[in-house]
């Protein structure tokens, strides 16, 4: 599903990703861990086409990114749900609209999305906050809105960048359960996190990243 082959990414001559090679199969759930600044977010950004690799090749679901036409990018992105580390919520829209936008972009009408968005909000325990605006939410609540938006479009790949950074242990556990459920339905899930609790005893692959390299792979 996701293949990196000798991928390098520079930021102002400083390599954030160095000659990285790995493969994630369809239906897998994989963790990326490592210290701050290791390059986890950069790796995910390359997958959702927000950053272009400077060297090496990347294939996402049969699409060779170097050969991808720019006008096809939106359609590839619709298959990738992203929990952004910096949330990227729309401040001037309420929770419902922040989640619904992922479907509106696909051309779906309000009548079609209403129930489905509420369903997803229920999954992240935010049904009662549907009309609130992001500023009026706690950090953890905002994070769950982002998660709801990432999964509402039923993507084939779900990328979560520090999805539990603002959550207490119990809520974090709930989110992990949600990710597992989504993964069980066939979605490939990649989670970048510092939080050991997330991958401990999952039996999933964990990539250890440091200074832009994959320095180890273990089973969580």
């Amino acid at each position: 599903m996701i293949h990196f082959s000798n991928v390098t990414k520079f930021y102002e001559r400083q390599a954030a990703i160095k000659n990285v090679t790995f493969s994630i199969e369809k239906g897998e759930m994989v963790f990326m861990t490592g210290p701050s600044g290791a390059g986890k977010s950069t790796l995910l950004k390359i997958i959702y086409l927000s950053e272009k690799p400077d060297e090496g090749s990347v294939t996402i679901a049969e699409w060779d990114l170097s050969k991808l036409k720019e006008s096809s990018i939106p359609f590839l992105r619709r298959n990738i749900g992203v929990v952004f580390q910096d949330f990227r919520l729309l401040d001037n829209r309420n929770v419902f609209d922040n989640v619904a936008i992922a479907l509106r972009i696909r051309g779906m009408l309000d009548s079609e999305i209403q129930d489905w968005v509420m369903e997803i909000l229920k999954m992240v325990n935010l049904r009662h906050k549907a009309d609130s605006f992001p500023q009026a939410l706690s950090g953890g609540e905002q994070q769950r809105v982002v998660i709801a938006r990432a999964i509402v479009g039923e993507p084939t790949i779900l990328l979560a960048d520090e999805p539990t950074g603002n959550l207490d242990t119990d809520t974090a556990a709930g989110i992990t359960r949600l990710f597992k459920e989504i993964n069980a339905r066939g979605t490939t899930v990649v989670i970048a996190t510092h939080n050991r609790e997330l991958y401990r005893n999952t039996g999933r692959r964990v990539f250890r990243i440091d200074s832009g390299n994959i320095v180890g792979e273990e089973i969580g």
């Binding site: 720019e70 729309l90 972009i105």
Partner: protein, 292 residues
Amino acid sequence: MYLLYSLRLAIQSLWREKWINLLSVLTIAAGLFMITLTFFVVYNIDLATKRLPARFSVMLYLNDGLSEQEAGSIIAQLKKNNAVEQARYIAKDKALEELKGVLKNADYILEGMDENPLPASIEIKLKKESVNIAGVKKVAAEIKKIKGIAEVEYGEQFLNSIHSIKGMAKAGSLSLIIIMSAGVIFVCYSTIKIAFYRRKEEIETFKLLGATRGFIRAPFVIEGSVLGISGGIASAAAAFVFYYVLFYKVTAAIPILKILVFPFETFPALPVAGLLLGIGGAVIALGRIRFS
């Protein structure tokens, strides 16, 4: 389709910046109204010069002592000329009569003249296509060769000045219309550019969620269209006031202005022009949408 949602986004954005947008609409309306006035002026100059050929004539003065038959054969020759529409013989005494008619009460001027001083003449009207500087010159040269014609006279000066007035009016108004149109496009361009920058963050997020170029552009193109059409409608209203005042109030005082014509097509054309310029400005403001 996402257009319904785009429409909603556009309306929200238009409403949020209603005062700036109102200002833009008024500016667009002013620009379009000035274009309308310019167009009105050229349109009437054009009409006036189009009516001209019917009045324009060339006078041929005949040699003295020519018989009617000889004059008749000259007319026959003239009629063979492709450029000539009609030719009318004016005998010596007829010419005098006409002159008396023109002088009316001042005909004492002619008193004491025992001999008619006026020559016989032929007045010719040219076909429409030939009433231009080159055409008239050519015909005049050809006619001069006919035997029995003493002199060919036409308003060369007049023709020249009409021609240059028409040329100047056309060039001047065309450049004014182009500048004004560019101004209207620029107003739409900057209004949309500002709206676009204000929503840059949100657009970046839309892109990451998989929005197409169409989805990103549509609200702004709709905004541009609304600004353009509104400006167009406002200018059409202004044009109507102008029309009403000119043709119902001013003509009452200055009846000669009744010969002016205000083309009614202007009213529906203005909103359409506004729409096109608005869309144009929006499209330029958006430029190329990049995803990476």
